[in-house]
Amino acid sequence: MKKILSASIALATCFTLACGRVDSAQPRADGAPGPANATVPLAAVNNPTVNADGQPINAQGAATLEFKKRIDAYIKIHNDAEGKVPNLKKTDDPQEISDREKALGQMIMTLRANAQPGDIFAPAYQPYFVKIVQDDFKGRSAADRKAIVAELPAKMKVDINTVYPTTLPLETFPPALLRKLPDLPPELEYRIVARSLILRDVKANLIVDILRDVVPTIPS
């Protein structure tokens, strides 16, 4: 396992030096088709490394697979929590929406009382996500980068297993970046807060995991 992890980190570093990219729906390591139009680093496609058993592995695929496993584990908790709070149907009473959101959030917080940063963004694979975000920003014009950063909520502190502050706007997630990150189930979404990439539970308005210092600093 250690070898897989170090290979992943090494490849993530190697991605920085990768000479190009291919646009392709590459199959994932778990055999599932990759997202349409996903951008796959050439280095990962052409230079597979090996795991502890000497079998070739694709670092991006391994990272995605591990991420998916952890997402699935979270969704089990989410579904468990959903089963323990009243169902939400469309209503003309905002109180019902608010109560349900709070109840679901509270239930998930209870079920994940020991949650730690990195529970889903596994530390070994964090460089993979960092690389995707930083490459995306590098590919943008200065004006575009500034426009994205200008949208971010100012001076917002976030922590896992806490409610996303309802008085602050949700930043618009850059669609092109979204296409490069692994798909999420509808219960979860990526958001950027300050320089962090967060996973947010949509129905519970809960911050599920945080990857800090991902977004490059933008000179003013």
């Binding site: 003309d92 905002p94 004006a143 575009d144 309802t166 997630f173 669609p175 798909d183």
Partner: protein, 303 residues
């Protein structure tokens, strides 16, 4: 649209206008018109059986600007009886407690809600996605959705989070629509002359190819706190109407080559009629002045 600009005093003019348009004047509308007594510069719809709707964006402040602009919407309704309203996002600013829904939506728009004007909201960056469960926003529990009004197919998108699922859904829904008119609306403008935000180029790269491929006619967006009618881009007509309560005065870049008409000195909203192959629009300011109007023929172009 005729250049004829008739300033209608609503107390009398609204009733005459309704009659002229062949609309049945209800007791409620009589009461509405007689209770107002304030001038508003709105022309009645022309079509007998046209699709008529209101366009508002960035409206959920709960402040005086929202209330006064909403009052003008109600006055406009007496002359131009739209059946439904599209909301371009930022439906509720700040906290979203039950009392906020009341202060920032239900109270300002009470006359419209009472008149059974249906609202169909898109989500803005200030909106909790759980607004989709709020019945009065007409989202039926969906972040993005589509609906039909006679010859017109509307696509309400969530531009905050344009994920793969939404892209696939949009492509599929656009491809299977045979409607005469296809209209999309969402929060972030993909073309804009705003100094603060400007065009959402990233979003544009994703959605514009689909809009072109499937012959979308018109796009409405908010986010920029002003009104802008853009010169048609690649055959598609774009409006930004994100100043229905929030206002960013003077934010339209004067030298922008994109602007066909801009208005950023007062809050505003739009009333729109689609009548066969013609879409007619009027943009009304917080003080009841018509600041833009025109028509779009389905083949493209604005006059």
């Amino acid at each position: 649209m005729k250049k004829l600009s008739v300033r209608i005093v609503v107390v009398l003019g609204a009733l005459l206008a309704l009659a002229a348009a062949g609309q049945a004047v209800t007791a409620q509308q009589r009461a509405q018109a007689s209770s107002i007594g304030v001038a508003i510069d709105v022309e009645p719809p022309i079509g007998q059986d046209s699709v008529k709707f209101l366009v508002i964006g960035d409206s959920g402040t709960g402040d005086r600007a929202e209330t006064e602009t909403a009052a003008q919407m109600w006055r406009a309704h007496s002359v131009f009886p739209y059946d439904f309203a599209i909301m371009l996002g930022d439906n509720l600013y700040g906290s979203e407690r039950p009392q906020d829904f009341a202060a920032k939506f239900e109270r300002p728009y009470k006359p419209l809600l009472d008149a059974k004007v249906a609202f169909y909201a898109a989500l803005g960056n200030h909106d909790d996605p759980n607004q989709r469960f709020y019945k009065n926003f007409g989202m039926n529990g969906k972040r993005y959705y589509t609906y039909q009004k006679k010859d017109v197919r509307f696509f309400a998108l969530d531009s905050n989070y344009m994920d793969q699922d939404q892209q696939r859904w949009l492509d599929e829904e656009l491809s299977k629509s045979n409607s005469k008119w296809k209209i999309a609306y969402f929060h972030h403008p993909i073309y804009s002359s705003g100094g603060r935000h400007g065009s959402e180029v990233d979003l544009r790269s994703i959605v514009e190819p689909m809009f072109i491929k499937y012959n979308l006619n018109v796009v409405f967006a908010g986010h920029e706190h002003f009104y802008e009618r853009l010169k048609p881009q690649r055959g598609i007509n774009y409006f930004t109407a994100g100043g229905s309560a929030k206002l960013r005065s003077g934010d339209i870049v004067g030298s922008s080559a994109l602007t066909a008409k801009g208005f950023d000195t007062e809050q505003s909203f739009m009333v729109v009629e689609i009548d066969g192959d013609v879409l007619r629009f009027q943009t009304i300011s917080r003080r009841g002045k018509r600041v833009d109007s025109g028509e779009i023929r389905r083949s493209g172009g604005t006059s």
